[in-house]
Amino acid sequence: MIEINKVTIGINANLFSIDKVKLEKGKLYALIGKNGSGKSTFLKTLGELIQPFKGEIQWRMNSRKEQRIAFVTSKFDGIEYLTTYDYIALGRAPYTNIFGKLKSEDHDFIKNICNKLNINSLLDKFTTEISDGERQIASIAKAICQDTELIILDEPIAFLDYENKIKITQILAEIAKQRNCCIIHSSHDIDISLMMVNEILIIDSVNKKLTQHPIENINKDKVLNIAFPNDQFLNI
């Protein structure tokens, strides 16, 4: 779906370069790298918020950006008096008219997604009343409602407990397969990623390279060696 050939990522300086990365529909990708290695910058570039430092990402589509890309941030704190349903329903905004009126198809679409994610009991509650994990699932539901081919999540499980980390990564993997969309998320939870994603993208901040590895060809040691090449403590 998206092919990235010979592109350099960075805002004012070269963070890392990509020789060849290919993102396909129906797969869940994990982006792994040190703090400050440029994970967020890469995701923002992919989300067309910023331009690549050099080169161009090939993704020729005619439709509007809001119907192609959904973006989920690492934390949503909830908003006073905003119900979970209304929050999720905002995901339909790219398809509503100028007044933002939801049609019955939109409501059906939203209810269908909420059924799948098993969050019907949250819908009438305010987003400030539910837990961090529930809020994160609501954010993912909103992104799915946007019905895009690409969903980008910036450290979606960083602030969650172990159970929720696994649950949400599992949901992402299922959604990618069921809805045949491409989901990419950055993460520091290498073990969870190794269990559930289809492919891992690793940023090597010493050699300034981003490499792509199908899950079959990689294990934890390899990931650590690429992501943290100079760190001796790993060999203890």
Binding site: K65, E66, E80, Y81, L82, A93, F99, G100
Partner: protein, 327 residues
């Protein structure tokens, strides 16, 4: 849910209509409406009603709505429940520009030149605040910038005052009192014209405002065009703020307090409900404030501005206390 809203809104409208008649009557102490047996244009009662009470009532209704809507738009845009036209210094921009206009042409300034100056001043100061908001991320710091802007502006106004003619000074002082009394009947069409321009543009702002609730960055991913919306919002808040400031002088706290009250009453972030609620409660709030000045009129003459502050300031402090403050 929806049925509750319409019930609440109808109830508020009934109260608004009743108080509007009471206000038209001139408060509790007057019997104008009772004595008006026939609609004879020459009777004293109908002249008082038409020339004095009617413009004042219309102005109060419009000023309350306009200031409150300006506050609501700012609170949503800046994602800050304490934003408002007066605290962010937008009103002081209008104030400065009107001062310059009045001082330079004195009593000869036309209505249109005053209202244009007020709106231009509001637009100009909105851009200043917007510029600061890009640098200052903390919501409370932005408010301090607004307060400083007002302080800075008021000293400039004083400097202009020091160097102006007696006539100009007099017309400015009367205007600066912040009252709805001096509005004339022939000014009403222009006031209504500007109000309805802003009012009709609101219909097209419901969707963008609902998106802005989750923040500009997230809204952009859902199709919001931030630059376009920023321009429209500045224009509309400036029209609303400028309109009121031009004809009533500075009236503070209404734009800040009313949207917070409305959110508390309706408990929603849907701007369709919030806008309708703010229009009604805004009028209601200022109507009650002005009814108080009416009933105290025989004893003392107090500017409307001090009544709104008397109610508005405690409401704001209460809102600050009950919020979980996270910055």
């Amino acid at each position: 849910m929806r049925k509750q809203y319409s019930l609440l809104i109808s109830l508020l409208i009934i109260v608004l209509v009743l108080l509007t008649f009471l206000h038209l009557n001139g408060g509790f102490n007057s019997w104008i409406l009772m004595n008006l047996t026939e609609f004879n244009t020459n009777s004293t009662e109908s002249i008082i009603l038409k020339e004095i009470h009617l413009p004042r009532t219309i102005m109060v209704l419009i000023a309350g709505s306009a200031l409150s809507i300006a506050g609501l738009l700012m609170q949503t845009y800046f994602n800050n429940p304490l934003a408002g036209p007066s605290i962010l210094g937008i009103s002081s921009g209008s104030n400065l520009f009107v001062a310059i206009t009045l001082m330079s042409s004195g009593i000869f300034s036309s209505n249109l030149s005053i209202i244009s100056a007020a709106i231009l001043g509001a637009i100009f100061f909105s851009f200043i605040i917007l510029g600061f908001s890009l640098k200052v991320k903390s919501t409370t710091s932005l408010l301090i910038v607004g307060v400083m802007l007002s302080a800075f502006t008021s000293s400039i106004v004083q400097l202009i005052q020091a160097d102006s003619t007696l006539d100009a000074l007099r017309s400015f002082t009367i205007w600066n009192f912040g009252s709805v009394q001096q509005v004339q009947l022939d000014q009403i069409p222009m006031i209504l014209f500007f109000f309805f321009i802003g009012f009709f543009s609101l219909i097209f702002l419901i969707k963008p405002l609902n998106l802005l609730v989750i923040g500009e960055n997230q809204a952009e991913f859902l199709g919001l065009q931030p630059r376009k919306i920023r321009w429209i919002l500045i224009l509309i808040t400036s029209i609303f703020t400028g309109l009121v400031t031009a004809f009533c002088g500075p009236i503070s706290f209404v734009g800040l307090a009313v949207p917070n009250l409305v959110k508390l009453i309706f408990k929603t972030t849907n701007h369709k409900t919030l806008i309708i609620g703010t229009l009604i409660v805004g009028s209601l709030f200022l109507l009650i404030c002005d009814l108080i000045t009416y009933s105290l009129e025989d004893l003392i003459s107090i500017p409307l501005n001090s009544i709104t502050s008397l109610f508005g300031a405690p409401i704001i402090i209460w809102i600050i206390i009950r919020r979980k403050w996270n910055d």
